[in-house]
Amino acid sequence: MTTTFKGGVHPAEMKELTSEKPFEFLPLPEQICLPLSQHAGKQALLLKKKGDAVRKGEMIAEPDGFISAPIHSPVTGKINKTTSIITLTGIRSEAVIINRSDIDEDDLMEPLNPVTVAREKIIERVKQAGIVGQGGAAFPTYVKLSPPPDKKIDYVILNACECEPYLTRDYRFLIEKTEEVITGLKLILKAAGVLYGIIGVEDNKPEAIKKLENVLRNEENISLKVLKTKYPQGAEKMLIKAVTGREVPPGKLPFDVGCIIHNVGTAVSIYNAVVKGEPQINAFLTVSGLGIVEPKNLIVPVGTPLKNIIDYCGGIKENAKKIVAGGPMMGFAQFDLNSPVTKATSGILVLTGKEAPGIKESNCLNCGRCLSVCPLDLAPTRLYKFSRFDKFEEAIDIGLQTCMECGTCTYNCPAGIPLVQWIRYGKRKSSALLKQKTN
């Protein structure tokens, strides 16, 4: 039996484009562009200057504050210059341009034994390795490994839903790196001092489920939960609901209902950091869409420009309409092929007009299709109307700040109203308002 949450939608999956394509290494680019803001929180502080030599794995920027992460050089070479860029998620960031040299020298950390390593050592290592969550928000992972002592945590849930269409990178992890995933989860359990681990997978991945079942046969503390395939099954609140039946109240965190959630990719990064001593210098991503010549799953150095990736995949087809970083439901449209991949990039999609039609907007029909699919039981049409007409107080009253911006409502609106776009606008405006009030 599969379990799930109420609401949600089921867009065309499009996973078949890449699901059988094993990870390939992208040939190292000549030049990379490393943003200093690759995580939630403050951007990292650069430790190097123009002309300095750097080695692969060397820390070149240190965290600034609690919610920040260090940045390491993914290649060996020389710092060419620093510059200012817009990242794939639309944030302004300082960036370092590194020219790669042919010397193959690295500066990795000392490998640790995953069975005997101490709890504190794991947390420290995750922090040093600059690991950030790969689900989307790019929250520094070590923070989530040390829950507040007053919260009793029952489960670590590994998010292997991969509910965004097109993306198959988590699926490839489950198939190709099953051991790494499980060991990574065990390291998380140990670090957080939690007894039980649950892996949540959508039922559209039978191969991966079979593989996991085999490996987990001898594991007492880790179980597999098969979930119904629908979007946004991978959203934290929805995943917790489907796996444990618990509901995270508005404004609360998974901690508050005894859960910690990590992405499969994060587990692999933790494995790499502990067992191989490798900081997070590579991004694992799916390159897909009907607008790219050859869809692939790739391992690319963080900081690689989109252009290198797209060229390696045979280039863009003539009917390409949009380039998106991330999935089609929550990803960001791109305009500059020089933009670099970051630690949290999960996919690059080249979509054609057929895939991303762009619906002409008409009047709200009061049809309720947005309400019936909103996983959080909000009233998207009302949130949208209040936001559009700048009635932020009213919007806040009916749950504006609770919206997780999953876009399910917009996807389902027959009138083509950009609901979540207006709600985002409302959230931005009103959080500024809320701040003003408290000051």
């Binding site: 609901k241 109240p249 508005p250 991330g326 092929l337 009061n366 399910t408 083509g416």
Partner: protein
């Protein structure tokens, strides 16, 4: 190398930059409206079979008048012509199906224009209207042409016992009950497209199947009608008709599947749909049994249309995770 770089730059300049989500479900307003129009095809066929091909002319005129009035209003208002969305056509089609057979073409056109101009555009157009436009048109015709609106034709394959009066009127005024079988097939007196339960159910089930119509509204109306009808039938089976007669006669099913379910004028919360459907049926039963008119579907729906905003507000579900 430089060549391919140039190419990429060219491609990228043509890219679209709108924000997520980048994909969309296949339902758009336009597709939905035309699918609803399509689902009325069985009712259209039943109209031609039971009352003759002339009814198609009446319906055609009604549709044309609706579309033309919308065009005229939009031109006067200098706003975009939206007739391709199929909603004006749908209003004309529905109105054509709920007037008596052999209706005058001029009156049909006037009713249809009224439906669009007063019932829809006066409120601001599609989405802003409070009442179902086709029913507004019918209410107008009822007031303007009371005699024509109650002049019924005998169906084509009438056996001797079938009168031209509608089954509901025959019961109300003469205590004559019509058999269930002709009611289901549609070989009885009544509005052009409302007599064949079978044709209406085929279209209605299609709309429920493709998730355009929410099953809660027709189901709550049907259950409500059976419930309230049964209560009176148990009290006095001679004086009050049985619930199945209620269900299959008059415009009930057409109302339940195609009028009360109109997106714009019905509730969008699940609980709201139940309340709305049950109350419509209560009004229908009360009017049919105690009012001066034999039929009450139109009033049941129009009255409840007015309460939709209130019902929506009162029945909004709790936000996920809030204490229940």
């Amino acid at each position: 190398m430089s060549n391919s770089a140039n190419q990429t730059v060219n491609v990228i300049s043509g890219l679209e930059l709108s924000s997520s989500p980048h994909v969309h479900s296949k339902f758009t307003t336009q597709q939905v409206m035309w699918l609803v129009n399509l689902s009325l095809l069985p009712a259209l066929i039943s109209a031609a079979v039971f009352f003759g091909l002339y009814q198609l002319v009446v319906i055609g005129v009604s549709c044309a008048a609706a579309v033309l009035s919308e065009i005229v209003v939009k031109i006067i208002r200098k706003s975009e012509i939206t007739i391709y969305d199929g909603s004006a056509f749908l209003t004309g089609l529905l109105l054509g199906l709920i007037i008596p057979p052999n209706f005058s073409l001029t009156s049909a056109a006037i009713g249809s224009a009224f439906a669009i101009i007063i019932g829809k555009e006066l409120f601001g157009g599609l989405g802003f209207n409070i009442f179902n436009p086709a029913l507004v048109g019918r209410a107008f015709l009822q007031a303007a042409y009371p005699v024509a609106m109650t002049t019924w034709s005998k169906p084509n394959f009438a056996v001797d016992t079938v009168t031209s009066a509608t089954p509901l009127a025959a019961f109300k005024f003469d205590k004559m009950i019509t058999g269930i079988e002709p009611l289901i097939i549609g070989n009885v007196g009544g509005s052009i497209g409302e007599t064949s339960a079978l044709a209406i159910i085929i279209g209605g089930v299609f709309l429920i199947g493709i998730k355009i119509v929410n099953w809660r509204i027709p189901l709550s109306m049907i259950l409500g009608l059976i419930l309230f009808g049964s209560i009176f039938w148990f009290i006095d089976p001679i004086k009050y008709p049985n619930p199945l007669f209620h269900l299959f006669s008059g415009g009930f099913l057409l109302g339940a599947f195609f009028m009360a379910t109109d997106w714009v004028t019905s509730p969008y919360t699940s609980a709201g749909m139940w309340i709305y459907g049950l109350l419509i049926s209560l009004i229908i039963v009360v009017i049919r049994l105690f009012g001066g008119l034999p039929e009450g579907v139109m009033y049941g729906i129009l009255i409840m249309n007015a309460f939709v905003p209130l019902i929506n507000r009162l029945t909004h579900p709790k936000i996920f995770g809030e204490a229940k």
